[in-house]
């Protein structure tokens, strides 16, 4: 669908700023057809649903909208979602940066295997991911009885939600950084070491500034997924109202209770989050492209 926007904007700027080069452009009605198709899909699949969320959210008025958000169960869902993001994003940040650093700056046996392993959460369905944790940590699971004996609750409690979310968002930062750092090579790091820099100095003053935008990009994507994850969290959560309901789960419950206005009100929060993510993502991409273009001249 993004293709639709790009086509539309692209066509506009051609008409506005440049003379059309007949040798490389299609005839007008072909262009109109392609742009039209793009816009049609864009409207049906993106704009309409997004609009519907907000329209439905405000159907019963602003008061009802706000009431749905400050209601205790909703507040607790917001809190849980924020906690999940606050825990899983920093953990994945640390993991992702160290994994990418290890993989790209050093040679060791099993490197390819490690990269494949990092990708695992992308290829496993989130529901399966949730089930894995139920099987391992649940009451009937491998370590279930030990946890029961020691009075530790993981499944159907916050730790389970954290585990599932970390699993699902595991690859985001590492996946973003590995190609970037691979392309940058190790010459600058080697130069720094020869000049006498210690390991952390090399990282802090040479590596980190070079990958900063990639890190931010990875964090933004990771955060969006951590807050929006439904499948894996749904399996391990147990849907205990006010305790283990995250925002997406809360939306589902409200919807199943035919409380549409409230469901859409909460959903609109997630939609705003998604739009914000997109905005930051676009800015970061633009910024990174700028930095890259500057470095390309080297």
């Amino acid at each position: 669908m993004a293709g639709g926007i790009a086509t539309a904007l692209g066509a506009k700027s051609i008409r506005g700023n440049q003379r059309i080069n007949n040798a490389t452009t299609e005839s007008p009605w072909v262009r109109r057809l392609i742009i039209g198709t793009g816009l049609f899909y864009f409207t049906i699949f993106l704009l309409l649903p997004l609009g519907a969320v907000f329209v439905e959210a405000f159907r019963k008025g602003v008061d009802a909208y706000l009431a749905a958000l400050v209601e205790p169960d909703a507040m607790s869902a917001i809190k849980l979602t924020l906690i999940t993001a606050l825990v899983s994003v920093p953990l994945n940040l640390v993991f992702g940066v160290s994994a990418a650093w290890a993989i790209t700056k050093f040679n060791f046996p099993g490197k390819r295997f490690l990269i494949t392993l990092i990708d695992l959460p992308f290829s496993v369905s989130p529901v399966i991911a949730g089930l894995i944790f139920v099987l391992v940590f649940g009451a009937q699971g491998w370590f279930g009885s030990w946890f029961l004996d020691n009075d530790i609750k993981i499944i159907f409690a916050v730790p389970g939600i954290l585990l599932a979310t970390i699993f699902v968002t595991f690859p985001f930062v590492a996946r973003e950084l590995i190609p970037l750092m691979e392309a940058q090579g190790k010459e600058e790091e080697e130069a720094a070491i020869v000049l006498g820099a210690r390991g952390w100095q090399v990282f802090r003053y040479v590596t980190l500034p070079n990958i900063l935008w990639g890190v931010i990009y990875g964090v933004v994507l990771c955060n969006a997924r951590a807050m929006g994850e439904f499948g894996a969290v749904s399996v391990v959560s147990g849907h205990i109202r006010g305790e283990t309901n995250s925002l997406p789960l809360h939306v589902e419950i409200l919807y199943n209770e035919y409380n549409f206005a409230a469901a859409f009100a909460v959903a609109s929060l997630l939609a705003v989050l998604a739009l914000l993510t997109l905005l930051i993502k676009t800015y970061v991409e633009w910024k990174a492209a700028q930095v890259n273009a500057q470095h390309k001249e080297d």
């Binding site: 010459e187 080697e190 130069a191 720094a192 070491i193 020869v194 006498g196 820099a197 080297d298």
Partner: protein, 361 residues
């Protein structure tokens, strides 16, 4: 003492990058490691720096065994082919980096750092670029900054890996003269790696020729050029004419022809390769001259000297066409009055004979 390497071996998987290499780099000299790509010269340089470790052997810096010491402790300066400047730092900060990362006890004060960096930038004649970023500089300027950065930590040894490799021909030529002058000024023991024989001969005090992981010859530029020790050195340094034949007494038989050589240690009757540089051949038109018969293909008369390209005739033991090249003064060419297509005889003024071991390119 300078730098010494002893019995260095290095394998990359099955590939033998360095095969029992021992060398001595004298203090204060500028030495070139010269050889074709893949000959192990860069690997040797990286082993000296400590960026790569040898499978066996020793690196001795200033009389001390440095084989097991960390890169940081070796006090070497390293200049990379692609500069490896820190992109997000200004030129000033790049040069200051080595001083700023020193442990607190050894770190100079801000004023001292500033003075030192500006002095170094003056030394490389780029003090007016201190506030720029690397992306705003030309290739030649970047390499000079990289050099200033390496010198900032006062290295005992300066190592340069193909320092001019990424620059265009004109800048490269300027920069190597500049490097030579700079070295005369600072006298840091320096080793630079290059695959460009002209660069090595022009800049270095001493040239180390490497091929397939071992050292072929070490000597001053004049020595290696005038008295190549091996066929490889002969063909690698400058253009050369090859004659395959058999030695008998003081002549080399090349097919039905004979070439006189000035004496060699090669046993009578053995199969040999004889070498003569283009300026060591003369062209004779008299039919009884002793030499190899050839037909003139082209006469190129631009520049200070003229070049004549010829094709060998009557040499049946070699299926492929034998090409020769002779360098003459313009006056000689005019005097000879050679024409394209003419049949002449090539007479060597000097001929070096080596036992035939392998096919030399």
């Amino acid at each position: 003492m300078g730098i010494e390497v002893k019995n260095i071996n290095k394998l990359f998987g099955e590939f033998k990058a360095l095969d029992d290499v021992s060398l001595n780099f004298p203090t204060g000299k500028l030495v070139a490691l010269l050889g074709p790509s893949g000959c192990g010269k860069t690997t040797l340089l990286r082993i000296i720096a400590g960026l790569e470790s040898a499978d066996s052997g020793q690196v001795i810096l200033e009389g001390q065994d440095a084989s097991n010491s960390h890169v940081r402790e070796r006090q070497v300066g390293f200049v990379f082919q692609h500069y490896a400047l820190f992109k997000h730092m200004t030129v000033f900060e790049n040069v200051a980096f080595g001083l700023r990362v020193k442990p607190r006890r050894e770190r100079p004060g801000e004023a001292q750092i500033k003075e030192k960096v500006l002095n170094l930038l003056k030394l490389v004649q780029l003090d007016w670029l201190a506030d720029r970023f690397p992306s705003q500089l030309s290739g030649g300027q970047r390499q000079r900054i990289a050099l200033a950065r390496a010198l900032a930590v006062e290295p005992k040894v300066l190592l340069l890996d193909e320092p001019f490799g990424a620059l265009d021909a004109k800048v490269r030529k300027e920069l190597r003269r500049w490097l030579r002058r700079l070295h005369d000024e600072i006298h840091v023991t320096s080793i630079f790696v290059t695959h460009d024989q002209e660069e090595a001969l022009e800049v270095a005090d001493e040239v180390v020729l490497m091929n397939q992981g071992h050292v072929e010859q070490v000597g001053t530029p004049d020595e290696v050029y005038d008295r190549p020790a091996t066929p490889f050195v002969y063909s690698f340094l400058g253009s050369v004419n090859l004659f395959h034949g058999r030695v008998e007494g003081d002549v080399v038989h090349v097919g039905p022809h004979q070439l006189e050589h000035g004496g060699s240690s090669v046993a009578n009757g053995s199969s040999v390769v004889a070498f003569a540089r283009p300026h060591e051949l003369s062209i004779s038109k008299s039919p009884d001259a002793k030499g190899v018969h050839a037909v003139i293909e082209r006469v190129l008369k631009f520049g200070a000297t003229a070049r004549v390209e010829l094709i060998g005739v009557d040499i049946n033991d070699h299926k492929k066409q034998q090409n020769y090249e002779v360098e003459l003064t313009r006056a000689e060419v005019a005097g000879l009055n050679v024409k394209e297509g003419e049949h002449v005889i090539l007479v060597p003024k000097r001929l070096s004979v080596f036992e035939h071991e392998e096919e030399v390119a």
